[in-house]
Amino acid sequence: MSGFRSFLQAQRRRLPVAGVLACAFLLKPVQDRLEARLDRASADPDILYFASPSIVKALALGYDGLVADVYWMRAIQYYGRREEAARRLIRYKNLPALLDIVTTLDPRMADVYRAGSVFLGEPEPLGAGEPLEAIRLLDKGIARLPGDWRLGFDKGFAYYLYLKDRGRAGQAWLDASRVPGAPPWMEGLAARALSEGGEVEMARSLWQRQLEEATRQDIRENARNHLHSIQADEDIWTLEFFVEKYAALYGARPRRLDDLVSAGLIRFVPADPSGVPYDYDPDSGWFSLNPKTGVRYIKMTYDYREEFRERLRRLYDAVKTQTTKTSKR
């Protein structure tokens, strides 16, 4: 007993330090325990305490720029956390209000209108599926920054892709083409949209333009993903078409895609845009992207499969007729 006492006596300075350190180390596991007990589904009530831009502006006390930055970061986090969004009743209920607050506090943040319109306009689950809100945001941007042709370009883009309204898309691009400094191709784009047809080619040229001209990495990446997805769709439809032709000629589907080449139907088996071969199921005749693919597939909002197959059929028939004529001679 006296030994223990003398030990305590000797360590009287070290013991409190050790105690504090032990408590500090214990804090983490205890906090983890508490966190594990949280009901994650109810952890995000998705409440925006101040939804009115004018109230937030008044409360900003002149630090409008800083508060706009904070709300912009909040909007990005709100949009970017996909898992959290999936648990909400409405995925991006507060996104329009958040973007409205940012652009009211700092109306000159052009990228907020641009990226925000993509966040709002893209169909669920990629975006909020609110194309009209996207256009409203862009209209606000065009009113505040009338010299920025890119906002008009994006407005046309939103009409074209999200609302499939080629007429209004063309009009938006035409308006944007009249802004000083707008690139010369804008007028052509407007003309093409205003004329009938050419829907996919138009989309492809738009994404290509964004890929080449966007300065922001995320916008270029989005354009590349769309281009790759269009390419993958068309590759798969082409392969399906020739598999059917093979089956019509030989009475069964090919076991391997190389059989299509051996049969002279195609010259080579295409790989997806990332260079990974497509998966093929000979029993069902279905194609899909290989799990190892580098393509981040985005389902297109327009369906032109039948139109594409019809074009292929005509092309196939024309080549076949030509080949028959040549062999007869």
Binding site: Y63, L66, Q77, A115, R216
Partner: protein, 263 residues
């Protein structure tokens, strides 16, 4: 000369009070912002750093102005050091002016060091032209003017009230000072003539802090964040306003202090 001696002493006292510790917090804020913002924001990295830097200069400066300003006179009274000082051939207005200038100089040193920190953070990120740095200076100058005005407000309260009440009064006036334009709007929209008069009187009477945050209907910090120039004449008018308002407040503080009985 006596004013300078009191000012120098006030500055030394502030340094002894570890007032410059806030600079460490500011430095940490700037370093963290330059690393973390890239992860949180989409574009506007340098804008966010400028917004954060200038707002921090303004907020930290205002807090220092309020919380040191309120104790400037009260502390001397409480410690009874004022008796020793006033026993010497020093006028009471010299004491007030010296105290004021000492704190304003402390704030100036703070602002200069924080500006250097902001410039270094921006230089670390790179890609900002020289004129971009220069366009920050008018905004920083206007922030400094607002700090000088708040210090004068705090000093007036310090001359007759306790620190707790002075802090409360000054803080509220600082908040109200951002809403002065609303008072003007009320005076224009109300149909009652006496109410319009009261609103108008309050508009002129209360310190108009928004004179230093809004110039020509443009937010000063935002303009700096977009490297936009500010109108020199407008800055000149804001300077005249600050000088006049501070002169009135300092006279008021000196008058209150002179009227106090220290027996």
């Amino acid at each position: 000369m006596r004013v300078a001696a009191i000012a120098r002493n006030t500055f030394r006292e502030n340094i002894r009070d570890k007032i410059l510790y806030n600079l460490i917090l500011f430095a940490l804020l700037m370093i963290a912002s330059s690393f973390v913002l890239g992860q949180l924001t989409l574009g506007y990295d340098d804008k966010v750093i400028i917004d954060l830097g200038l707002s921090a200069i303004s907020v930290f400066g205002s807090l220092i102005a309020i919380f040191i300003g309120i104790g400037l006179v009260y502390k001397e009274l409480e410690r009874r050091t004022v008796y020793a000082l006033l026993a010497k051939p020093v006028h009471r207005w010299e004491f007030i002016l010296g105290k004021y200038l000492g704190l304003v100089f402390t704030l100036l040193v703070n602002v200069v060091i924080m500006t250097a920190g902001l410039a270094l953070t921006l230089a670390y990120r790179g890609g900002i032209p020289l004129h971009g740095y220069l366009r920050l200076l008018p905004a920083i100058y206007l922030i400094f003017l607002s700090l000088a005005l708040i210090t004068a407000v705090a000093l007036v309260f310090s001359a007759f009230s306790t620190p707790a009440l002075s802090a409360l009064f000054t803080f509220f006036l600082w908040i109200i000072g951002h809403f002065n334009l609303d008072l003007l709007r009320f005076s224009r929209t109300t149909e009652s003539a006496p109410a319009a008069f009261i609103f108008k009187a309050l508009y002129y009477l209360l310190p108009n802090i928004s004179n230093f945050s809004m110039v020509d209907s443009r937010n000063v910090i935002q303009s700096a964040a977009y490297y936009e120039p500010l109108n020199a004449a407008a800055i000149g008018w804001a300077t005249i306003y600050a000088v006049l308002y501070c002169a009135v407040l300092l006279t008021l503080a000196a008058a209150i202090f002179s009227g106090r009985d220290f027996k």
